[in-house]
Symmetry: D2
């Protein structure tokens, strides 16, 4: 998988001179969208299939600060998936390969009616792909 790169914008900094902490949550989304697209599930495809995948939980640790014009390298992995909740893991590193931020996010898959989708039945290939990636995460 290709690493996602976010270049820190001036308007993402705050009065302390560093990136405001809320922006990392947005970069998680940017990297997740890119990760899913690399799996063949672009946001457009989600929309066409009528799936929404809201964030239900986030856990994160801020390790080092970043600031304007820094490149932040973001890797995303499937951490857990048992058919309902998908847990993703994010690692963000700076240009010196130091970890600046670590996080997980949890998601469910719903139809436009707001009801949970049985992924194994409705999208068995996507379901299997996520299971396989989760299994690999356990092994490593």
């Amino acid at each position: 998988m290709k690493v996602y790169v976010h270049n820190v914008k001036y308007y993402e900094t705050d009065r302390m001179g560093i990136t405001h902490h809320s922006n990392y949550i947005r970069w998680m989304e940017e990297a997740r969208v890119d990760f899913m697209a690399q799996l063949g599930w672009s946001y457009q495809r989600f929309e066409e299939e009528g799936i929404v995948s809201p964030v239900t939980a986030i856990e994160c640790k801020y390790k080092r600060s970043t600031t304007f014009a820094d490149n932040v390298y973001i890797t995303v992995d499937v951490k857990e998936y048992h058919g309902v909740r998908l847990k993703l893991k994010y690692t963000m590193k700076d240009e010196k390969n130091k970890v600046v931020f670590e996080a997980t996010s949890e998601h469910c898959f719903m139809g436009k009616d707001g009801k949970l989708i049985r992924m194994d039945r409705a999208f068995p290939e996507f379901y299997q792909l996520l299971c396989d990636l989760a299994a690999k995460a356990v092994d490593s």
Copy 2:
């Protein structure tokens, strides 16, 4: 009309230590929504009536900086209205009554089909109200 007050948030500041200039555009929207609600046209009412009122143009001047925890006092007035484009005027002042920002915004009124609404026919009372406010602006 009641003045709208925005209290500057920490995350609205940038690395220069002051409010990032893009936020004033957002406060214009906050104050405009409040102004319209004071006229009896809350956003909910716009939605119920099926009207959207996108911003088509903005002109603004940044006079003084503001920063975290400052109160900004925002007045909104109708500047021009001839039935199609509505032009609003904004003045933002700090706690010492100094002007920090001045702007105008232009809006049209469209139905959900994206077509311009003939306001004089569809909403004659709202149309008249805006005309009256625009006439007052010319007088003053």
Copy 3:
């Protein structure tokens, strides 16, 4: 302690029609600043005393969605404090008193030199206040 109220802004919504999840992280900050001010520690005082208090970790759960013009009622409590890391707890409720979001954030206290401050020595009264609030949290 007075509950902090955030009125959801139009620009905080996203294409799903609801508040974008990153904004809750910003409201945590708004409510935390207000909570600290109620304890006698306004941001201005932090700055005067030369203390910065960065976020080191966040955990949060999204329970229900909110959207434009909703009032969100935010309570903040000290959850844990043993002299170094301060852990705060947030509960956000909607107008029907339903929990929409729950979170904790962790913070340290540093001087402008980036070194951790021994709060018990440097600010014994603030230290004691936070310890007392943490003790109350355990009891309840």
Copy 4:
């Protein structure tokens, strides 16, 4: 000059399903930083030389909407420069080469003391470069 490309983020959309209008102001900054860097004046260089260049005015027209995942192509030109106020011009186009947004921004150049810099004396080469670009704008 290389065109600057901004890929619209999910969190930049609003409840109308399109990019919130305040984000274009941020993209102007992104493109301006890139334009200046292409001229040999990266933000880092501005900081090293002790120059700040705040936005003093903006005028913009919203022509068409954009939304999540769209690429927006932004060109920046010097429009006017007589030694004090620099006026830049922006044109944003979508993937079909349609203009979505047009704007100008005005800037001054100040030292860290907040005083205007006499650019012709302090930075004669940069001054000349901006004058030349402005002259070209008049010709075209």
